[in-house]
Each structure stands twice: as structure tokens, then as C-alpha cells.
């Protein structure tokens, strides 16, 4: 059975997650279409790679929900940020109901390792037919969070951290360290300068090696986090003129990892790309185990290294490989693959159509629950009552997405958007407010 899957993603990280999933789902078992929601600053290289890999759509969420081909898929995978995830699920279900069309199973997941805010992220994802998790570590956290609650039956599946097609070990790798930069880890400018200085010192101590800093995004591109000072600027600020064997590279990370001996990171998911591509990963221990850096995730990896005190790059390259038990625990193991998702989806297909999940339980609040239309309208009125106009507009905008033909929602929203406060008050007085 070949499953027809649609993956919906927006920011570059989410698109990469979709790409990895599409790559991991074996050819023949799944036919995958990716919809990249248009977004300013999305790296062209990511879109090009998706285009090369299979069918790529570029529709907005609104266009997508009106797309007749949407019902032709067997399941839909959603890789959006928290609130948009919940919004998509809510709007999708409402739109199918309104159009009298069947719903398809919805699944979602995470883009790489989850370093922080796991519980918050799950609170946005509850209600999806399947939540893809990386490995046993995340599954244990999910179980603990939902234990004793009405959400304990939430289904999940382990899809692992393999993101690249593995390559055979090659002899001819370059004496090169690739540093996979992250835009906010560390976030402090002084620490970012310290990081660059320690890479430069290591380059000086290793004249036969090359050190490449691979920025997360180019200066004109954007990612989930806002970049205040791009790493190429930090390099100039910290070093003036860097050593000849240290430079910034914008080549694709996969290509760099496939040809280099060592990869270093603070806490990037690129750690696992390096393993896929036969490059030895090390995790910087110079800043200690700090929650804000995501380094505690790697505490058991066995490859934490102090760059500042390393003799040279050869000594880093000669260090041990990651601990296999830890790798399996976090999800890097052949038994955690996209195949598990396909099996779970096939299993779902044998069951009666997906029942709409019950997300309202007395005593429990989840992030996604407010997204029922009437609740949104009520919450918008409550926000208006406490003079929080911005929040009221936000909530009603989502309600309007769900019920675009609802005249009262449209009128109320139009009234809220009037810039002149007096005119707005008058308009709010005459437009019908939600009472239920």
C-alpha cells in the first residue's frame, strides 16, 4: 500500500524536518507532497532541495484548505510553530465539517531535538491523531506529562533523529572542523565573541587543519529566532583579522559534513546530521551544562569537549564516539524511523475514521483548546472587556479563518480594526457581540 501524504511546513527548520521525513519514508511505501507555506526569508536552497526531492506546493494555509486535491491524501503532516499547529488542526476539521468532506488523520512532530519547552509544545500538539517523537527520552517525558490526565491516551510514534541518507565511510576526508552555528546558543554577544575566539585559537594551534563556521542562516535569510548580530559580524568584532585557516562557509551543511573529519556544535540537531554523514561530532563543553544553551540534552553523549583546553584538532578527532546507549535513548537508532509513522498511519486507516478528539475536559487547559470558534469569540469579547484589543483581534482572526462566511464575526472584527478610538467604540456598540 502506498500512502499519499501531504506535509505542511513554513519556516526553514520546519521545512527541513518535512524534508527529512520525506527522505526517510521509503520510496514505494509513501508518495509525499510538501506544501511550503510562503514566508519571507525562507532560504532558497531549502526550497530547491525540496523541489528536487518530490512534488512541492507553495500555498498559503487559506488556499490550502480550499484546495480540492487536499482530500486526495491519506494523511496530513503538519510542521508549523505551536499556535499555528493548533490553528491548522482546528481550522482543517471545521472546514471539512462545513464542506461535508471526510477528515484525514493529522500528524505532527518536532524539527530536531527538543532542547526546551517540551511540555508547552505538547500542549499545542494534543489532539493530533499522532505526534511524532524522536525517541524513548521524549516518549518518557510525554508519558509523565500526560499520566493521570484525560489526555493519557494521546498516540505517539518514534520517528528518530536520522535526517540524512547515510553515507559509506570514506577515507579521503579533509582535516577540517565544521562548526554548526546556532543563532541564539549562546545568545549573549560576549559569549558569542568568546566562542569565535576559541575557534580561532584552535585553528592557530592546528595549522594543518581548516576551521569552517557554518552560519545557521545567511545574513539576508530568516529562521525561527531573530538574529541580532550575524556571526560574520561577530567574527570581525572578536578577531579583526581571523587566522588564515578559519573562515565562514555558506556551502550546504550536508556537503561540508560529508567531506570533513570533525563537526562541533553547542547543541544543534546538526550533531545527528554529522553522524549520518560519517563526520565525528563533538559538543562544546566550554560554557558548562546550561539550560539556556541546550547542553544538558547532550550530557550523556560522551562527546562533550572543552575547545579552549583541547591541545589541537587532531586530539579532538581522536576522541571517542558518542555513547550508543545515549544515542538510542534520544532517538538515534535504526529502529526509530519514518517507517514507524507509515505503519502507525496504516494502522489508523484500518480503524474507523479518525474521531474528532475531545480536548475539553473540566479542570484541564491545553494550548490548543481555545480554538473552537465559539470559544475564540468568547475569549475575544473577554479580551475586549479587559481592553486588550490586540489579543481580541488575534482571537477573532482565527475564528474568521474557521468561519470565513460568518457575517457577525467579520463585522465584529472590522469594528475592532478601526484605528480611530471613538469610531471603534461606536462600531463595537452597534455590531453584535458574541453571547453564549
Amino acid at each position: 500500500m502506498t500512502l499519499k501524504l501531504l506535509l505542511v511546513a513554513d519556516s526553514d527548520s520546519q521545512l527541513l524536518a518535512a524534508q527529512a521525513l520525506a527522505q526517510g519514508a521509503g520510496a514505494g511505501r509513501a508518495a509525499i507532497t510538501v506544501n511550503a507555506v510562503p514566508r519571507e526569508g525562507t532560504p532558497a536552497a531549502v526550497l530547491e532541495a525540496l523541489e528536487r526531492q518530490g512534488e512541492l506546493w507553495r500555498q498559503s494555509l487559506r488556499q490550502l484548505l480550499n484546495e480540492p486535491r487536499l482530500d486526495g491524501f491519506d494523511a496530513i503532516g503538519v510542521y508549523l510553530t505551536g499556535s499555528k499547529l493548533a490553528e491548522f488542526r482546528s481550522v482543517y476539521l471545521a472546514s471539512r465539517r462545513q464542506l461535508g468532506r471526510p477528515t484525514r488523520p493529522l500528524f505532527c512532530g518536532f524539527n530536531g531535538v527538543v532542547l526546551e519547552r517540551f511540555e508547552e509544545a505538547i500542549a499545542w500538539r494534543l489532539g493530533y491523531d499522532l505526534i511524532c517523537l524522536n525517541g524513548p527520552r521524549d516518549q518518557a517525558r510525554l508519558e509523565l506529562m500526560l499520566r493521570h490526565t484525560p489526555f493519557a491516551g494521546q498516540r505517539s510514534v518514534l520517528t528518530g533523529l536520522n535526517r540524512q541518507r547515510g553515507v559509506e565511510p570514506q577515507g579521503g576526508r579533509l582535516n577540517r572542523l565544521v562548526f554548526a552555528e546556532q543563532v541564539v546558543m549562546p545568545a549573549e554577544a560576549a559569549e558569542r565573541r568568546r566562542l569565535v575566539r576559541s575557534l580561532a585559537a584552535l585553528a592557530r594551534r592546528s595549522p594543518d587543519w581548516e576551521v569552517l563556521i557554518k552560519p545557521r542562516v545567511a545574513p539576508h535569510e530568516s529562521t525561527f529566532h531573530t538574529v541580532e548580530t550575524h556571526i560574520d559580524q561577530t567574527l570581525v568584532e572578536a578577531l579583526g583579522s581571523p587566522p588564515a585557516n578559519l573562515r565562514i562557509s555558506y556551502e550546504p551543511l550536508a556537503a561540508l559534513l560529508a567531506s570533513s573529519r570533525v563537526m562541533a556544535t553547542v547543541s544543534s540537531t546538526a550533531f545527528f546530521d554529522a553522524l549520518d554523514l560519517g563526520c565525528k561530532p563533538v559538543v562544546l563543553a566550554d560554557f558548562g551544562l546550561r539550560h539556556d544553551l541546550g547542553t544538558p540534552f547532550f550530557a550523556g553523549s560522551g562527546v562533550l569537549r572543552q575547545l579552549e583546553s583541547a591541545a589541537d584538532l587532531e586530539s579532538l578527532a581522536a576522541g571517542p564516539d558518542p555513547d550508543p546507549d545515549w544515542l538510542e535513548w534520544v532517538g538515534y537508532h535504526p529502529r526509530f524511523t519514518a517507517e514507524n509513522l507509515l505503519e502507525a498511519l496504516e494502522q489508523l486507516a484500518t480503524e474507523a475514521g479518525p474521531a474528532e478528539p475531545v480536548l475539553q475536559h473540566p479542570g484541564y487547559v491545553i494550548n490548543a483548546a481555545e480554538l473552537a470558534t465559539n470559544q475564540l469569540r468568547r475569549a475575544a469579547e473577554a479580551a475586549l472587556g479587559r481592553r486588550d484589543l490586540e489579543e481580541a483581534v488575534r482571537l477573532l482572526e482565527i475564528a474568521q479563518l474557521q468561519r470565513p462566511d460568518h457575517r457577525n464575526i467579520a463585522r465584529r472584527l472590522a469594528a475592532m480594526r478601526i484605528a480611530n478610538p471613538i469610531a471603534r467604540r461606536l462600531a463595537l456598540l452597534v455590531t453584535p457581540r458574541f453571547r453564549a
Partner: protein, 350 residues
């Protein structure tokens, strides 16, 4: 058994005093080592407790010979100072040709998720980490798995920092809702202003009730120094505040909690005190599950509801109790915490 408990913040001092009372029942003699900055806070303690306290710089105590007369010490300092205390003590003991005394530490609150990981990290390497319940035990195991701290000793000793003993007071004559306010949840002046207006509206809509805004943190004695990020500031500025919207002070909190007919808060640890005492309790769900608001802590409580669903307030009085399984895993199921701690420390001291 002789122990010292060392604190350098008002919250740590309160937790240490509470732990000492429990340990006393387990036959342990506890000396409080209190940082000089806390001298005023110590004055609020009972005379007997004050007599068992020494006001002393914690890092000086770490290296002093007084430590030689103890079986172990519990260190509840500001996290960045935890490593310095441990290293200082070990170095001083080594110079005296002795083995250092067993040191223990642990999160002051039954934190979960990111807040717990961040709290545990600087405590790793202590001889013993005292945790609250099964939830924290599991989280610690994940944090240290495979790492240099994989063998980190720990003991789950229940909700050790949480005042839960009845103080023998009946509820107030007039119905009272106690609103447990936190300093930084929400953190901005604008959000606090919105929150204040909502409680003002609640008080207006509930003339038969007193709505008491109760900070769970100390406010400066001089109201001029109150900040806009406190409900107290907004209460003071409000020219039309309803008579039934009152303001409490931190020292009133335990008494107010006992007298309240119902309690409400976002993620104040005092909500747990209310829950274990069987008070009708509401965890405000209007903000959803947000990490910076400690939302994950009360996700499983079964007591979350939106403010709009709390009216009329009489409705709260028939609300169900907290989710028993969740509360048990948080630490409420452990009744012999002080004895467990004593046994573990005795084993370490051997």
C-alpha cells in the same frame, strides 16, 4: 544526628525552617546557618527556632571547623554559589586532613520540566539531592542518564518545603477568595494591569465575597517603592477600587490561606499548600501552558479553569479536589520524608 541547613534567601530560609521542624520529629538536631542579609527575616521565626540559628556568611561556614561537629549539611544557597560552597568545604576539609562532611541540596519547590532541569544542574555533584516526589525522580534520571553524574544519589522526601500542617483556624465568616500573586507571573506592568482589572471586575461582580490579592513575595514596607509590576501598585492607584477588593502582605499569607474559602493563582507554589489542605483551588488557565509561567507544573492538577468560568464564585466551593494521582507523584504520597532523609544521610556519614 546533627545537621546544619544553610540558606541565603527568604524562600530558602522558610523552606529550611520547615524542613527543620520535620527533621526534629525524626530525632535530628538542626542548626540553621543564615546569611547576614537574612537577619531581619530570621526575626519572624519562632524564638526557639531563632535560638537554633547562627547568622554567618555561608561560604565562611563551608570552610569553618564548625562543620567538623556535624554529620551532614543541607545547602540551599542561590544556585551560582552552590559549587563554591561544595568546593570550599572539600578544600578546607582536605587541608585539615579530613574527609568532607556529606552535603545535600535540592529544589526548594516541586518544580517540573525546564524549571526543574535548570534548578538541578548546579546541584549535580552534591552527595545527595533531595527531591519531592516520583515526578522529580524520573526527571533527574533523564537529566543524568549516561553522564558523569549518572550515579547521582537522591532521595524523594515528599513536599518538604510546603507548609501543609493545619493551624487550627476556621475559614473567615465572610466568603473570601485568596488570589495568590507571583512577582514575575506575569512579569510585565501591562499584563499585571490587565490582571488587576480582571480581579477588580471579579470583585465588583461578587459583592458577597472578599477578593484578597495576596502577594507570595515580600513587598517593600513603603508603598512608594511598590513597582508597577505588582498588583499592590495597581490596587493603590485605583481610585475606584471596590471595597471588597483587598490587599494582603506576605506575612499574612499562611493565615489568609487558612481563612480563605477558595484560592486562586497562576503557578504559585502556595496553590499546592491549598490543595493538600483540601481548599477549593483554581489554577488560572487563561494563559495556557506557558513555560515562563510555570504552566507545566499544574497541567495535571485537574484544577485549571479560566477566570470567566469561575463566576459566580460560589461555584468554586463545589469544585472537585486535585487529581490524586498527579498530587501523589508530585510528592504528597510520601509520608516518611524526614526519616528517609535521615537514613540516607546516616549511610553517607558512615
Amino acid at each position: 544526628m546533627k545537621l546544619a541547613l544553610i540558606s541565603d534567601s527568604p524562600a530558602a530560609l522558610q523552606a529550611c525552617l520547615h524542613l527543620a521542624r520535620q527533621l526534629h520529629g525524626a530525632g535530628v538536631e538542626v542548626t540553621q546557618i543564615v546569611a547576614p542579609a537574612l537577619e531581619a527575616s530570621l526575626q519572624a521565626a519562632a524564638p526557639a527556632e531563632r535560638s537554633r540559628a547562627l547568622v554567618m556568611e555561608p561560604l565562611a561556614f563551608a570552610t569553618s571547623e564548625l562543620m567538623d561537629h556535624l554529620e551532614a549539611a543541607g545547602v540551599f544557597l542561590d544556585p551560582p554559589r552552590l559549587a563554591a560552597f561544595r568546593q570550599g568545604h572539600q578544600r578546607a576539609a582536605s587541608l585539615r586532613g579530613q574527609r568532607g562532611r556529606p552535603l545535600f541540596s535540592g529544589p526548594l519547590q516541586p518544580l517540573v520540566g525546564d524549571a526543574l532541569s535548570a534548578d538541578l544542574l548546579p546541584r549535580l555533584g552534591y552527595d545527595l539531592i533531595c527531591l519531592h516526589g516520583q515526578t522529580q525522580v524520573e526527571a533527574l534520571a533523564w537529566l543524568v542518564r549516561g553522564s558523569a553524574h549518572a550515579a547521582q544519589a537522591h532521595a524523594a522526601i515528599g513536599l518538604w518545603s510546603l507548609p501543609s500542617a493545619p493551624v487550627g483556624l476556621a475559614v473567615s465568616e465572610r466568603p473570601q477568595l485568596l488570589v495568590l500573586e507571583q512577582r514575575a507571573v506575569p512579569g510585565s506592568a501591562r499584563e499585571k494591569a490587565l490582571l488587576y482589572r480582571r480581579f477588580q471586575a471579579l470583585a465588583l461582580a461578587s459583592p458577597g465575597w472578599t477578593v484578597r490579592l495576596q502577594p507570595d513575595y515580600p513587598l517593600p514596607g513603603d508603598p512608594q517603592l511598590w513597582e508597577e509590576t505588582t498588583l499592590a501598585w495597581h490596587h493603590r492607584q485605583d481610585r475606584q477600587r471596590p471595597a471588597n477588593l483587598q490587599l494582603g502582605q506576605l506575612e499574612d499569607l499562611p493565615l489568609s490561606l487558612m481563612q480563605a474559602w477558595a484560592c486562586l493563582g497562576i503557578s504559585s507554589p502556595w496553590l499546592l499548600s491549598a490543595m493538600v489542605r483540601g481548599k477549593p483551588t483554581v489554577v488560572l488557565g487563561d494563559y495556557g501552558i506557558r513555560t515562563e509561567f510555570d504552566g507545566p507544573l499544574f497541567f495535571g492538577s485537574g484544577l485549571m479553569r479560566r477566570l470567566a468560568d469561575c463566576q459566580p464564585l460560589e461555584r468554586l466551593l463545589t469544585a472537585p479536589a486535585a487529581n490524586a494521582g498527579w498530587l501523589a507523584d508530585l510528592g504528597w504520597a510520601i509520608a516518611d520524608g524526614p526519616q528517609r532523609l535521615r537514613r540516607q544521610l546516616e549511610a553517607l556519614a558512615r
